[in-house]
Each structure stands twice: as C-alpha cells, then as structure tokens.
C-alpha cells in the first residue's frame, strides 16, 4: 500500500519521460482510475457487465456542479453529494437491471444510461442546461459561501478549504482520494464479502443452494461501483467545474469496459493500468503529428524516413483509435487476463533469465513493478 501510494504520488516525476507529466492528463489518470477501480468491483468480482456506468459518472458531475452553484465552491460537499446522488441512481437502476443476468442485464443498463443521456439533452434541460453543459455563473446563490464572505469579482474557483483544485494541487487531491478508493477496494477484494461475490460469478445457482440470497449481494456491489463512478464524476467537476451530457453517452461506458479488460479484469492493478494506457493514447498519441514523426525518424535516410512517416502516421494523430484497437485485439486474443498478465509473464521470464546475477534481476524487477502499478 505504501509503495502504491508512493508510485501514484510520484507520477509527475516518472511520467515526465513519457511526456505526460502535465496536470490535466495526470488528473485524468487518477480520476478515471477511481472510475475503473469501482467498475472492477462489479465486473471483476461478480462478472456482471454493465454498459451504463457512464450515467453515474454524469450524475456525479451534474450533482457536483449544482453543489458549486447552490451551496459552496468547496469540493467536500460537492463530492459527498455526488457520491450520494449516484448511489441513489444506482439503487434504482440496479433494482431493475439485476432482475436479469448476462446479456439482458447489459442491455437493461445500456438502456437506462441512454435514457439518462437523452433526458439530459431534452426534458431535463432546466437541470442539465442541455447541449451547452452546466456551467458556473456569477449570479449563483452559493448559500454556504455567502455566510462567510461577500461575492467576489469574477467567477470563483473550486477549492478545498482555500487550496485551488485545478492544476497540480488538483492532481494531488484526486490522487489521495484515488489511493483511499483503492484501499477500500483492496479491503473488499480480501473480505468474505468479496469472496462471496467471486463465488456468485463462478456459480450463482450453487450460491442459492448453499443458502445465500444473491440479489442483495449483487445490488450492493452494483451500488458500490455506481458510487465510485459518482465519485469520479464529482472529481471531474471539481477539477473543471463543467458538466456535459456527453459524459453519459454509451461510448463513455464502453471506455471503462475497455480500460478494465485491457488492464486485466478482476485484478487489483489491472484497471489502473488500463486507464493509463487508454488515457495516454487519447491524449499523447493523438497529439503526435507529421513534424514529430519526421524528427523521430531523422536519423534514417530520407527515402526510408518518408516511408516510415507515411506508415506511422496512420497509427498516430487521428489514427490513435487504430493503434488502440489493434492493441485491444492483441490483448484479448493472447492475454485474456489483460496487460497485467503480460507484465507478469515478462517479469517471470526476465527474473528467471537473470536468476544467476541477482543484482540485475532486482533492477529489472523494479521497473517491472513500476509498470505494474
């Protein structure tokens, strides 16, 4: 746990060689980390594949922004309320969707999430502000803040008792929350409750014949993971106080499924690894352009350089989806337990290869562990 915390908090340092050491993407790593950790509690432990978790992310964001508008710019009430609100939504959605299992459960969750998405664009426009997205305004009441101070000039920014929650401080606040969230999920994985959830995944009928009422177990897991999604949504709004309906679209649910499967479903670190890979591709790979490629291949002869640039440019910039798609296909086909399995296999091979010279093997083990986190 201590090592894990250290690795997460030192991300600004060891991410810099990868060109990802700026606060915006670091925040995304940890916030979507919370989302994926929560999703893994449902999908990894019980095997129920939800296509609707983006709805909770959206609910969390809207709730947080409303809390900024009505109550206070402090992120504490915003985050608590967004967790609570998404929990309520998860109870409603889980109660209905968990009447079915397998593909029907997935379809029901998908339908529910799309319903939320479309409502946010149409009927619920007074709450969600439709396509423009929910934004802060100068005229917002902010009841709690008004008790202590007068409204200042311009738009206030989100704070944690005076600490600004954008930029690096936003990353550190989110990272601490993510570490706590990870600790809770670790506890759940190692508890008898977690074992029962794994047993439900393995053979739900047997669980019933052994005397377990499986419904409340599934509903609890569903609500916990929904609240994690709400927490992530609240954090997204806390670092950037703006909520739009596109956060609830089914592609956002699909993204968290990709992250979980890519990293390693049912493992503790896998989903986090998946988040880093996908968010890295989305933000860094997509920004690579022809000029970058030319400088990357500058050492090659000109004619070869042109060919290499032409080939590579299909995979970067706009084409980052292609690279990600190929990677995903490779992982699902050859590493059914995700990239984490690949890291484990690689680590075993390397450590057995270097077992004669122990100093080298520990060195390799260090880097392996870093990637694993």
């Amino acid at each position: 746990m201590a090592i894990f915390s250290a690795v997460v908090l030192s991300m600004p340092i060891w991410m810099s060689p990868f060109g990802a050491a700026y606060p915006d993407i670091l925040q995304k790593f940890v916030i979507f980390g919370v989302f994926a950790i929560g999703y893994n509690i449902l999908f990894g432990l019980t095997g129920y594949l939800s296509f609707g978790h983006a709805a909770f992310l959206g609910v969390g964001s809207y709730t947080a922004v409303w809390s900024f508008k009505l109550l206070s710019m402090n992120i504490i009430p915003a985050i608590l309320l967004s967790v609570l609100m998404s929990g309520i939504f998860a109870v409603a959605m889980g109660y209905i969707a968990l009447r079915r299992s397998g593909i029907y459960f997935s379809i029901l969750t998908l339908a529910f999430a799309q319903m939320c998405y479309n409502l946010a664009y149409s009927v619920l426009t007074p709450i969600t502000n439709g396509e423009t997205g929910l934004q802060l305004a100068k005229s917002d009441p902010r009841i709690i803040d008004r008790l202590f101070s007068e409204a200042g000039e311009g738009l206030p920014s989100t704070t944690l008792f005076g600490i600004e929650t954008s930029g690096y401080s936003g990353f550190y606040i989110s990272a601490v929350i993510m570490i706590l969230a990870f600790y809770v999920s670790l506890k759940i994985f190692n508890s008898s409750f977690g074992l029962k959830l794994k047993a439900i995944k393995s053979n739900q009928n047997r669980m019933r014949y052994l005397g377990f009422n499986t419904k409340p177990y599934l509903l609890t897991a569903f609500v916990i993971s929904g609240m994690y999604a709400g927490l992530a949504g609240g954090l997204l709004a806390a670092t950037d106080p703006l909520a739009g309906a596109e956060r609830m679209q089914w592609t956002a649910s699909g993204e968290v499924i990709l992250m979980t499967i890519l990293g390693g479903v049912g493992t503790l670190f896998g989903p986090l690894l998946g988040v880093i890979i996908i968010k890295y591709f989305e933000n860094i790979f997509s920004a690579v352009n022809q000029v970058d490629l030319h400088s990357f291949y500058a050492l090659l002869p000109d004619w070869l350089e042109d060919i290499m640039v032409a080939v590579s440019s299909m995979f970067v910039g706009e084409g980052w989806h292609l690279t990600l798609g190929l990677l995903f296909m490779f992982v699902v086909a050859f590493l059914p337990k995700g990239v984490l399995q690949g890291v484990e296999i690689g680590y075993k091979k390397i450590s057995s290869y270097f077992s004669k010279s122990p100093t080298k093997s520990t060195k390799k083990a260090d880097t392996g562990a870093n990637h694993g986190e």
Binding site: N190, S191, S192, G211, F212, P216
Partner: protein, 254 residues
C-alpha cells in the same frame, strides 16, 4: 427406531407439458435414517429432489420440512433451514480453490442469507476457517487445498461438493447419485465416508443406481416409477420384491 418425520412430501403433482413427472407422490423421511430412492431412468427421482430444495414448485401438494411448510419457498431459504444437496453433476465453484469452495458454505452458516461486511477480512474469520479446514481434512483434500477446483478429477469434485454440504451441518442431506461415474476405488472411499457420517445421525436421502451402495448404506428403500412410489421397505424386502424387478426390467405398468 421410527420417530418423527423430517421430510413429508404429500400428494405432490408436477407436470412438464403433458408429462406427469411426479404423480401425486407421497413420501415420508424419518429422522436419523438413510433413505434410498431407486427407480428406472425418467422415474422422477431428480425432479423429486428439485421440488424438495425449492428449485421447482409443485403444481399441487405440499412439502413439509421439520414441521414447517416449505412449498414455494426459495432455494436459499430452504437451505438456511437445513437441507443441503449434492448434485448429479458436481455443482462447485470451478474458478475458486478448494479452501474457498468450502469456506463459502461455512460462511453461509455463520452469516445467514445476507450480511453486509465488506471490510471484515477473511483472516478475521478464524472460527469459520477452522471448521472448513476440519472438513477438508476429513475428506482427504488437504494436500490439494489451494488447487483450482475446476481442474480436479470428477471423483474429487464430488468429494469436494460433499464437503461443502457437510460443513453446513444440514439436518437433511440429499445425495443425487453420489457415486455415479466414479471408479471402483473412489466409490468405496465414498461409501466409507458416507458410513462415517451415517454414524453422526444425520438424515440422508440417497438416489442411487449402484445396488451395492444402496444395500451397504440404506435403512429404508423407496422405489419410484412413473412419478409415484410403487414400493417401500427395508433393502432386503426390496431385493426380493417382484414389483421392483418388473419396474426395472419390464417397464412397470400400474
């Protein structure tokens, strides 16, 4: 030895389409006995067990267990009242190891049908763990305790499932062909285990084709054909009954 009835099946009718799988069946299982149910394939033996554990609800009639009507109750409620079942094809948690497989039914006893304690680590459940380890040892599975259950031999899977049922200390244990598909040596081992638990006084219902098993274990035998009990008595009586021979060999017409 006739004492009170643990299980009382009264006038149970269960139809699938036009087929009467159970046709006004009556059956009484007395406390502390080992009651064998035999009969040709398709006689309704497994359907009878399915009705007893709540997997199927009878069309008419009732099932009483331990003085309470359990007709129409859900499987987990019936299990919590004290009926455990070993299935014809082992129903275990294939993805988990043997220790975890036995821990879960032990937890069902300790926690009831639902307990929300996601922060109570497994290492804090020493009492439950001890009970599980004792049963695993009794079933000679200790050496494979951390192996994945799905990778075991069929005989071991059956023994594991028996361990999972025994750790719950049920009042009534239902065994659906506990030795089917087993090698001779495994069968003998299973008979030994069943004899050992017979001494504990647990009431058991055994569905079995292997007459050696039936005659070495059972106190009472009921013969089931076409959804009704056609004969009942001691193993000796059943061995000599013409009716039973006819049911097995000639396709009984009653």
């Amino acid at each position: 030895m006739a004492s009170k009835a643990v299980l009382q099946v009264s006038n149970v009718l269960k139809t699938f389409g036009g087929l009467k799988a159970l046709n006004n069946l009556n059956l009484t299982i007395e406390e502390g006995t080992v009651h064998a149910i035999i009969g040709p394939n398709g006689a309704g033996k497994s359907t009878l067990l399915n009705v007893c554990i709540g997997q199927l609800t009878p069309d008419t009639g009732s099932v009483e267990f331990d003085g309470q009507n359990i007709t129409g109750k859900s499987p987990h409620q019936i299990s919590q009242q004290g009926i455990s079942r070993v299935f014809q094809t082992p129903q275990i948690f294939e993805d988990l190891n043997i220790f975890q497989n036995v821990m879960i039914p032990a937890l069902a006893q300790a926690d009831g049908e639902f307990t929300f304690n996601p922060f109570k680590g497994l290492d804090q459940r020493k009492d439950v763990e001890q009970e599980a380890l004792r049963i695993i040892d009794e079933m000679n599975l200790t050496s494979q305790m951390y192996d994945r259950a799905g990778a075991m031999s069929r005989g071991n899977k059956r023994r594991l499932e028996l361990a999972m049922c025994l750790v719950q200390k049920p009042k009534l244990l239902l065994l659906d062909e506990p030795t089917a598909g087993m090698a001779r040596a495994d069968t003998n081992q299973t008979i030994e285990i069943l004899k050992k638990i017979k001494a504990s006084g647990m009431t058991k219902v055994i569905i079995e084709h292997d007459m050696n098993v039936v005659f070495s274990l059972a106190d009472r035998v009921s013969v089931l054909a076409q959804g009704t009990i056609i004969a009942e008595g001691t193993p000796q009586e059943m061995r000599e009954s013409e009716l039973v021979k006819e049911a097995y060999l000639g396709g009984a017409t009653i």
